[in-house]
């Protein structure tokens, strides 16, 4: 990334390399002794579960935490038999979780109070089809360690959507401030307004820079919050989508024709029009025919 200054090094891997265990890329077999002195950042990266190599069509395995989140989501949305739960209130029939293909960490120059770091993230969205319409997009952070007593950290997040044309970069006009409750394992940041134009225009990849400034009790985080600092390094991107293709399941409430019918006087003749019972019968028959 030539526009990134400050000597940052993007971590890019080819598809073949992506199938190899991550630790093999970072640590040659004879460098095990140096593992102990490496920074917490590398410790977090090597803590990811090893990816299986491609084997006769076996697909490369996803990030273990991402998989854990999606399995939990599946249990919330579907019964044991695999049937979508009827009490689901949301309107989307597709949820996609992406892990970043590349991350570029900027050194903290001109560090201000509570300033943490800036991270460039590249997400490949090839799998999103033209028939999938975005409802919501979220940056998902996973906390490996939970805090027993209630603790809250206030973070301000600045997000920049980067385009190939530097003059076309979109900066968040209002920093997103949220309070992170550390009792929860997952932290979600809604980035729908930033990503909606990109996904609507069927961009195959998106490049965003995320900058966090976190404080606890108005003080910068000390070393005991390293686990939290590291969690902010590599978020996943969640897209909640409505697949409009024929194969996808469309709930009745998602169909605009159905909701029009529900709200029409035909469905509620006696209440809205005060018609006589015989006319109600005709309306009832008309409803059945429809």
């Amino acid at each position: 990334n030539s526009r990134d200054e400050g000597g940052s090094q993007p971590l890019l891997v080819s598809d073949r390399e992506a199938a190899e265990p991550l630790s093999m890329l970072l640590f040659p077999p004879d460098a095990k002794s140096s593992h102990a002195v490496l920074s917490p950042l590398f410790k977090v990266l090597t803590g990811h579960s090893h990816q299986e190599e491609n084997d006769g069509g076996q697909r490369p395995q996803p990030d273990s935490r991402a998989l854990s989140y999606m399995k939990r989501l599946y249990k919330m949305y579907a019964t044991k038999e695999g049937i979508p739960k009827a009490n689901k209130s949301h309107l989307y029939n597709t949820v996609r979780l992406f892990t970043p293909r590349a991350e570029c960490k900027h050194p903290a120059e001109g560090q201000v109070k509570g300033d943490l770091h800036s991270v460039d993230l590249l997400f490949n969205l090839d799998c999103v089809t033209a028939l999938e319409h975005l409802f919501k997009s979220v940056l998902l952070y996973s906390l490996d360690k939970s805090v027993s007593k209630s603790s809250a950290i206030t973070c301000t997040c600045n997000l920049i959507v980067k385009e190939h044309d530097p003059s076309n970069q979109v900066c968040s006009s209002v920093p997103h401030t949220m309070t992170v409750e550390l009792k929860r394992r997952w932290v979600e940041i809604d980035v729908t307004s930033f990503l909606q134009p990109l996904i609507a225009s069927h961009k195959r990849s998106i490049h965003i820079a995320v900058n966090f400034t976190c404080l606890k009790d108005n003080e910068p985080l000390d070393s005991k919050w390293d686990f939290f600092n590291m969690a902010l390094v590599s978020p996943s991107l969640l897209l909640y989508l409505n697949d409009t293709s024929e194969q996808a399941y469309h709930r009745r409430d998602m169909n605009p024709i159905w909701s029009d019918l529900k709200n029409s006087p035909l469905m509620n003749p006696s209440e809205k029009t005060g018609k006589e019972p015989i006319q109600d019968e005709r309306a009832s028959r008309h409803r059945r025919d429809e």
């Binding site: 697909r59 695999g82 029939n93 992406f98």
Partner: protein, 129 residues
């Protein structure tokens, strides 16, 4: 209708006598089939569920299909044609009439994970058509 044989001797078993007026056996109905995705090697890309019961329809279609199976009148007409006029005209078949969706969690080729809901994956009702 001529199917009942005229015999001088009464039925040996009264239960058997009444049985012929009840619903015939092996009528069109929903059947279970528990499919494991590993059997089709789909477990390489389907993470959840590990399998499911799509059901299938099997059985004989009786003459009177409208009331029990919600079949159109045409089905009964075709049945009569098959029985009385031309046996080369196919008799009505027992097939699914309604379906329900299925949710799956799948692994994409780029390591992303997708939750998807697909229409018409499970047969829930049979009909004769």
């Amino acid at each position: 209708d001529g199917k009942v044989k005229n015999t001088s001797a009464p039925p040996y078993n009264l239960s058997q006598f009444y049985q012929q007026f009840l619903f015939p056996q092996n009528e069109c109905e929903l059947q279970n089939f528990w499919l494991k995705f590993s059997q089709l090697k789909w477990d390489r890309w389907i993470i959840a569920p590990h399998g499911y019961n799509p059901h299938y329809c099997k059985g004989e279609c009786p003459r009177v299909v409208g009331h029990r199976y919600g079949s159109p009148v045409h089905t009964m007409v075709q049945n009569i044609i098959y029985e009385k006029l031309d046996s080369s005209v196919p008799k009505p078949s027992c097939v699914p009439a309604e379906y329900s969706p299925l949710s799956i969690l799948k692994l994409e080729s780029d390591r992303s994970v997708a939750y998807k809901e697909y229409e018409n994956m499970i047969a829930t009702k049979c009909t004769c058509r």
